[in-house]
């Protein structure tokens, strides 16, 4: 990972007499202010996202008769208006955790497969296909999940219930189709697989040849080469890839909205249909919401925003801490 190139080149003194009419200095100023201006504009956009969302959210929460964090209901149009995010927070976190547990190891495996295991002729086209799959829009995953995956998973759900029901988590207490948080987690895992794979593979390919050769020359097997030089070098890359995937999973709207059959209940029986996520709830409730209902949805969106901020911040911190050890003096 190339560290940020700090261009520290002082403006070169003119090597020959400046041609008359040359506007180097003025040009530099204009160009600098243009580019700095867009950077500042970006910061302004970020700030206003936070400000506007908080403002609307505050309006909504101040009129909420329930507790915004603990109420198991979403009825801003009711009298009195009651809504809370507990169920949404739970559903979002649980489905994302399921997705990460499945997707990250598999994605690292596929990335290694492409970078170090697949026959050379197969590797390049495979990488290409994975990159293309990363671009498949989430709504397509959504209808595929609802119309193809859900029926397929019913057998698996019964089987999990039969053999792992004792874990409580995999106990299926309600009959019904597999429109559960577990199915959502699997679908999210499939969705984020390509992007996590793609980023990890990119990092694995950047492992300096000499690091791998160092391991080889010590008499390392292929797996040991990977463990000694590829994985340590790629660790921060894997983390940032996973966080990228987690960010997608947390905020994914369409795939959840199409697959989940929502309910305002918290249950650790992840195979039961029901539950909800922030994004799914916003998409589902938006159509029928009045002005106040929209503010309430914005309030829940603010929580999602903060959640993704925290995830991203954590990822940055981990990567920054790793940096000193990655010692890319290559």
């Amino acid at each position: 990972m190339a560290s940020t190139t700090q261009l520290d080149i002082p403006p070169a003194p003119p090597a020959r007499p400046r041609r008359p009419g040359s506007t180097g200095r003025a040009g530099d100023k204009i160009f600098l202010s243009l580019s700095r201006g867009s950077g500042i504009l970006l910061l302004l956009i970020m700030a206003s996202i936070a400000v506007f969302l908080s403002y609307r959210a505050a309006t909504a929460i101040s009129k909420d008769e329930g507790n915004f964090f603990t109420t198991f209901d979403w009825n801003p149009a009711g009298d009195p208006p009651v809504f809370g995010i507990a169920v949404l927070l739970f559903g979002t976190v649980v489905s994302s955790i399921i997705a990460m547990v499945i997707a990250v190891p598999v994605a690292v495996g596929i990335a290694l497969f492409i970078s170090h295991y697949a026959p050379r002729k197969l590797a390049a086209p495979l990488a290409y296909v994975v990159d293309l799959l990363a671009a498949v829009p989430s709504i397509v995953y959504g209808i595929w999940g609802a119309l193809v995956l859900v029926p397929y998973l019913e057998g698996l759900n019964l089987w999990l219930d039969q053999f792992f029901g004792w874990t409580y988590i995999f106990e299926k207490t309600e009959v019904g189709v597999a429109r559960s948080l577990f199915t959502v987690g699997i679908l999210l895992a499939i969705m984020i697989l390509p992007i996590v794979t793609s980023v990890s593979r990119e990092v694995f390919l950047q492992v300096p040849k000499m690091n791998e050769e160092a391991a080889l020359a010590l008499g390392a097997t292929r797996w040991e080469v990977i463990r000694l030089s590829v994985l340590p070098f790629g660790r921060s890359g894997i983390i940032s890839a996973s966080m990228l995937g987690l960010g997608r999973a947390l905020g994914e709207t369409m795939a959840v909205a199409t697959v989940l059959s929502p309910s305002f209940l918290i249950s650790l029986h992840v195979l039961n249909p029901g539950g909800g996520t922030f994004a799914q709830n916003i998409a589902a409730k938006f159509g029928e919401a009045d002005a106040f209902g929209r503010d309430a949805l914005i309030a829940s969106g603010l929580v999602l925003f903060v959640l993704t901020l925290l995830v991203n911040g954590a990822a940055r911190l981990i990567i920054a801490r790793r940096k000193e050890y990655s010692g890319a003096n290559a």
Partner: protein, 362 residues
């Protein structure tokens, strides 16, 4: 490209016949066809076990076969070779299993979309809107949604591409100190903003300013999603431009801004174009902001600045929700159109990247 620089550990296994008991450098090892044999045995066993137990789902069969495969190859290698080779073999098997496990759903996704989508996809579908079509009727088309998508994505690109490009130039060519660090940090943060949150942001502005839903509002939300992608990819490309080029130009007395415009950007232009196109492909599939901000429509509305519009991803969702056989067909057909659009953008973008890539003299 980067393949050339990787060390090839693919064919590291000793090429041996089984049973060669050697001393010193050679050692006992499994034959080359062993993994295939293990795979065949585990699949056979898995089918046997599942049939015996009466399990229907093929998902289970696959899981059992995968676990058996891992176990058999580990044990066999430990017995015949040694612990280290067994670990190596286990890793190889795990990686293969990961790959195969991921191929199945992704292939199913593509295959379903293509086969179901091609049922309804024709010239009529592409050139008609949903005006006056009931959900259960097997007519109607996607024309209005196509127009909506093109216009919304077009506006978003016109705003984000220059902004993103300039920001990246600032970060790479000028950036030092607090401001650059802040921008870098918040670009990262922006990359992680869920599309629905971007939609809610524009929605809150709309609520405050009393604006009506329109294509433009959707495009603004897409802009927020697109800018960080453009900044990131452009930044990467600019960093790849060797410093020697900049120094060579500066040493000739060429001012910095002209160096950037005439030397740095042209060198990186292929990669930058690719980045922008990939960003377009990414936002073209966004549904959530459109639901909130563009409202959706059955009619053709060519004016993105006024009135509700549709868009391809929104259309797919809408048709899915109707829940009739005919609307499912339309959803799949539109999904195929959307995937084709995104894929073509991707292919062209990658083509440009390859074509414009700096020639490595080899």
């Amino acid at each position: 490209m980067s393949n050339a620089t990787t060390t090839d550990v693919r064919d590291q296994r000793p090429q041996t016949r089984p049973g060669t008991h050697g001393t010193g450098l050679s050692s006992r090892s499994l034959p080359r066809w062993a993994p295939l044999g293990f795979a065949a045995v585990s699949v056979a066993l898995a089918v046997g076990i599942s049939t015996a137990a009466g399990w229907q789902s093929r998902v289970q069969w696959g899981l059992i076969a995968a676990l058996l495969f891992l176990a058999i190859s580990y044990v066999a290698t430990t017995v015949v070779e040694n612990q280290r080779q067994a670990k190596d073999r286990l890793a190889t098997s795990v990686v293969w299993v990961c790959f195969l496990a991921a191929v199945v759903p992704l292939a199913s996704l593509l295959w379903t979309t293509v086969s179901r989508g091609s049922e309804r996809l024709d010239g009529y579908f592409l050139s008609h809107s949903m005006a006056g079509v009931l959900g259960s009727e097997a007519t109607g088309g996607v024309y209005h949604a196509l127009i909506g998508t093109l216009e919304q994505v077009g506006i978003a690109t016109v705003i984000s591409a220059p902004l993103g490009l300039l920001t990246a130039v600032y970060l790479v060519e000028y950036g030092k100190g607090g401001l650059a660090r802040a921008v870098t940090f918040f670009v990262d943060v922006m990359t992680g903003i869920p599309s629905i949150v971007a939609g809610l942001f524009i929605l809150s502005i709309m609520l405050i300013a009393g604006l009506e839903p329109s294509g433009l509002m959707g495009a603004l939300a897409l802009t927020i999603l697109m800018i960080p992608v453009v900044v990131r990819s452009t930044e990467e490309m600019l960093k790849l431009v060797p410093n020697e080029l900049r120094e060579a130009s500066l040493a000739l007395g060429i001012p910095k801004w002209r160096t950037i415009l005439k030397v740095v950007l042209p060198t990186a232009i292929g990669g930058i174009t690719t980045g922008v196109m990939l960003a377009i492909a990414r936002i073209a599939g966004e549904t959530a902001p459109i639901i909130l901000l563009v409202f959706g429509s059955q009619l053709i509305n060519t004016n993105p600045f006024e009135g509700a519009q549709s868009s391809l991803p929104f259309y797919i969702y809408e048709q899915y929700k109707i829940g009739e056989a005919a609307s499912y067909d339309r959803a799949w057909a539109a999904a195929l159109v959307l995937i084709a659009f995104v894929m073509i953008l991707n292919l062209v973008a990658r083509g440009i990247a390859r074509w414009k890539a700096p020639k490595t003299g080899r």
